[in-house]
Amino acid sequence: MTTPALRDLVIRHPGQLGKQPFLEVVDLKVHFPTDDGLVKSVDGLSFALDRGRTLGIVGESGSGKSVTSLAVMGLHTRPSSERTRPGAQLSGEIYLDGDELLSKTPEYVRSLRGKRMAMIFQDPLSAMNPYHTVGQQIIEAYRIHNPVNKKVARKHAIDMLGRVGIPEPSRRIESYPHQFSGGMRQRAMIAMSLSCDPDLLIADEPTTALDVTVQAQILDLIRDLQSEFNSSVVLITHDLGVVAELADDVLVMYAGRAMEYGSAEQLFNRPAHPYTWGLLGSIPRFDRVGAERLLAIKGTPPFHPRCGYAARNGGLSEDVRPELAPVEPGHTVACHLSPTEREQIWEHEIAPKL
């Protein structure tokens, strides 16, 4: 992943070649030293995202999706002598509009948060301060980045609350987070994240805690606001349905590494990695008459013991970690199976059962 040419091949899409993408993550590693050894939460992850596009990162709990987003936002505790707890060890490069973030000071990265990049957290109740009203929290974020007086900021906050669909925003701005329902709280947090029109929005499981009807409202909202501000969105979720709904590109993560990376159309119609097959096979389909049986993925990480096809490589899967390699333009996969083998398995064994 060192030569620019190889990097281009693996992490950029045909349309992105030669251009600087808006967000580019190159060989990101986030390791946590613990008493039980080094936890490699993210271990060599690369991806790129253009303006106005949405990248979906899917994976199960512990696959490193949230750790990745916290790294981009610069929210990991860095190692320092004053702390008793060792922080995260980060390496690699993160470019936001050409600006490398990992080498910058925490103060500089903080100045970017809010305006350049913002995050929607999964749990709004713990992400908002219970002692301050919703309005105060939005106004504070807005005034840090915009030299306006309180009155203007307050009007802006009311506007934002109205935009995300909170009824009677001029009254609800005085409410505390606990006075909102789950869906309203999530919308208030989205209003807060969007109050400074961020160029990059990272949404970490934005709808996981919500009911489907509210989820549909929130997804629509993110889509509308994205097209209005031409922001880039990183959508982190375990729900393949949400990804298919919203994402342009999809990155499948497993145990801190990318297993497959391509456009949503490629990933859902021509998935190439056995793990992606497993994910697609293990979800009950809402839109089809019940299959006889779900194709469950057996066991727990790492992947080769769980993979039904690992035996075909003469022990290669046990000893060598596969690197991401292109299967078609803009579609890469980390798997030892040969392209012909893979195509055959997909067409004859997997696709008919989905």
């Binding site: 199960e60 869906g183 009950p284």
Partner: protein, 359 residues
């Protein structure tokens, strides 16, 4: 868990009879306030629910948070006492039984809980957790408790040698299996599962759903499954009830319900489910409900869905639609159902009577 294609074997003489019947079930939680702690209102969690669950079937209740589905589950298993109405288990009225009278009944009905982290005692070994039902009920299984527990662990796909381990040594999916093993200990007839897979990762979800299906066949179980995930419900259920604000708005066979939902709420709910298929992104028509579910403390009068329904008319605000069988085995509580064959007829009839091109 089984579709009509492969019903569990071992036909009993009364296979088609109802295992549990619920009539007019009501649960209001009082809200007390003021100096004297007088009752100032009530959360109308469940408000007049009727259904019957047949032996060997999987009956699911779906709905959004706060619709009363979990309360219904707890009323069925009598973890809560109903405010009104009647619950009949195998012909016996269990609505107002005392704890001591209920205990023997617990052998027949067991519950699987949502959160595998809080439903297992962290200070007990797996052996003690799964063996607890024997101890509490005073049952001595053949071959001893230890052997019975190890058999159960094997039945749910766990290593019987893990008998002496503690819950924290297991992953979420494995813990859910421990909880399932515990419910199976006394060979119950009815298992009420409250969101059995919603806390699990998708790949683990599939393992647990497959396990529940196998167990239903092996142990001749009847399931009542409470869930909010419509995809999971379609996969597991024979019949499905949709709840909204404490009432059942639609009840039908799973395929009929998913093939042609009739209540506008069901239609909206289903249109909101994201489908993992990029080709369908464009062609799908979404019905977006506005606002939130009203408070169950003061639910809207008459049809409870009328505040968010795009088809609501004056009659919906004044007259409550009863849950009636509009199609065979398909009950709906709505004045203006969707996907109803007569609807076209009725509309064209009204059009004809008011339109000008009446010939």
């Amino acid at each position: 868990m089984t579709s009509p294609r492969h019903k569990p074997v071992a036909p009993t003489p009364d296979q088609d009879s109802d295992l549990i019947i619920v009539e007019g079930l009501v649960k209001h939680f009082p809200i007390r306030g003021g100096l004297l702690r007088r009752q100032v209102g009530a959360v109308q969690a469940v408000d007049g629910v009727n259904f019957a669950v047949k032996r060997g079937e999987t009956f699911s209740i779906v709905g959004e948070s706060g619709c009363g589905k979990s309360t219904t589950a707890r009323l069925l298993t009598r973890l809560l006492e109903p405010t009104a109405g009647k619950v009949t288990l195998e012909g016996r009225d269990i609505t107002h039984l005392k704890d001591s009278q209920l205990r023997p009944l617990r052998r027949d009905m067991q519950m699987i809980f949502q959160d595998p982290y809080s439903s297992l005692n962290p200070r007990h070994t797996v052996g003690k957790i799964v063996g607890a039902p024997y101890r509490i009920q005073g049952v001595s299984p053949e071959g001893g408790v230890k052997k019975a527990v190890q058999d159960l662990l094997a039945a749910v796909g766990l290593n019987p040698e893990h008998y002496n381990r503690y819950p924290h040594e297991f992953s979420g999916g494995q813990r859910q299996r421990i909880g399932i093993a515990r419910t199976l200990a006394l060979k119950p007839r009815l298992i009420v599962a409250d969101e059995p897979v919603s806390a699990l990762d998708v790949s683990i979800q599939a393992q647990i759903l497959n396990l529940l299906e196998d167990l239903q066949e092996d142990f001749a179980l009847t399931y009542v499954i409470i869930a909010h995930d419509l995809s999971v419900v379609r996969y597991v259920s024979d019949r499905v009830a949709v709840m909204y604000l404490g009432k059942i708005v639609e009840l039908a066979d799973a395929e009929a319900l998913y093939g042609g939902p009739m209540h506008p709420y069901t239609v909206a709910l289903m249109s909101a489910v994201p489908v993992p298929d990029t080709r369908r992104r464009q062609e799908r028509e979404r019905i977006l409900l506005t606002g939130d579910v009203p408070s169950p403390i003061s639910p809207p009068p008459a049809c409870r869905f009328h505040t968010r329904c795009w088809k609501a008319q004056e009659i919906c605000r004044t007259q409550e639609p009863p849950l009636v069988e509009l199609l065979p085995r398909h009950r709906v509580a709505c004045h203006f159902p969707e996907n109803y064959p007569d609807e076209a007829v009725r509309e064209s009839a009204t059009e004809a009577s008011t339109g000008e091109d009446y010939r």
